[in-house]
């Protein structure tokens, strides 16, 4: 696909609030991206010029925020609405190898949708959620920088251009603790490892797995982000779009070039690279 054919939809409903900076991250890299309200896919009340189809795009992003106020559970209402109107299309979209990214609330939505962990290639959306993003162990909203170790061996199409082993992305959430079904924790972890679905795990400044505050939410196995078995759906709690530039890092003025690339940029570069080859 040529760069000018790439079209990214950043999906929103009421309460989504990181769509602008997410759109901007793609635009900085020269591809077309727009924030799209879920309504624009199905509602009759939307004027024609604002109507959209999922097939107008070749990359979908679920950005951060508090879709529907995080009521019921974070991401639950967005995913229920999406399932009711777009399930088939989305399933098809994923099967056709188009990339889908969920950041923070987006990860929660993909989890509630049953798209992640996404063990089954043929059924990219499971009927029920297979994991949960529970309330942080601290029981508080946590806005803080984290260090992540990149552990993917090449399956995840969102990190192929990532050169550093340890990156720093900030988190900002109250429900981000990765929880697997009771009794199946190790099994899930082994499957994720075997299928090369582990992408990021929280570590301390030296790169060791560590507890709070390095692991800001108490996630099992320090997991911060995973992809589906095919590697084209990726969900993570930390915000790569908030560290697109170096000056957005919390400690940029401790001896770095502020106008340089931030650690998060590689995520967006990777998916664009992938789309170019698609």
């Amino acid at each position: 696909m040529k760069p000018d054919e790439i079209r990214v939809a950043v999906l929103r409903i009421e309460g989504t609030n990181c769509e602008d900076e997410t759109v901007l991250a793609f635009k900085h890299l020269g591809v077309e991206a727009e924030a799209v309200h879920l309504k624009q896919f199905y509602s009759d009340s939307v004027p024609d010029r604002d109507r959209r189809s999922i097939w107008d795009y070749n990359c979908l992003v679920f950005p951060g925020g508090f879709s529907a106020g995080d009521y019921v559970r974070a991401g639950a209402i967005f995913s229920a609405r999406l399932k009711s109107v777009l399930r088939r299309d989305l399933e098809e979209f994923i099967k056709m190898d188009f990339p889908v990214l969920g950041i923070c609330n987006g990860f929660q939505i993909l989890t509630e949708l049953g798209v992640l962990p996404g063990f089954d290639e043929d059924r990219p959306i499971s009927d029920k959620p297979e994991m949960a993003l529970g309330i942080n162990d601290s029981s508080r909203f946590e806005c803080r920088p984290t260090f992540l170790r990149h552990e993917n061996r090449g399956n995840c199409i969102f990190t192929t251009k990532l050169e550093k082993e340890i990156v720093s992305f900030p988190v900002a959430h109250a429900e981000g603790k990765v929880i697997f079904p009771k009794g199946k924790e190790d099994e899930y972890f082994d499957m994720l490892t075997e299928n090369d679905q582990l992408v990021f795990r929280y570590v301390d400044a030296e790169g060791n797995y560590a507890g709070y505050p390095w692991n800001p939410n108490g996630s099992m196995f320090n997991i911060a982000g995973i992809c589906n078995v095919k590697g084209n759906v990726f969900g993570l709690m930390p915000h790569p779009e908030r560290v697109f530039w170096r000056y957005q890092h919390s400690d940029w003025n401790r001896g770095t070039k502020p106008e340089g690339a931030g650690d998060g940029r590689a995520i967006f570069e990777s998916v664009i690279e992938y789309l170019k080859r698609l």
Partner: protein, 79 residues
Amino acid sequence: MIADVYIELKEGVVDPEGEATKKALRLLGFNVRNVSTRKVFRIELDAKSREEAEKKIAEMCERLLANPVIQRYSIRWVD
């Protein structure tokens, strides 16, 4: 018909909100043994029978109100 649908964490799932509340209550001098959180949805619906209504509610829980990985639900009839 009116039902209260209780959503609670499954046994063994950590309840940080409950734990934090317990800690705060103890700081305030209350000697509480345990605190856990629940969410209640009061649902008003039409159905021919309780059985039918309970079936509908079960579906609601599975499709939106509860995440089966960490939560379970129970129904208490109000009316």
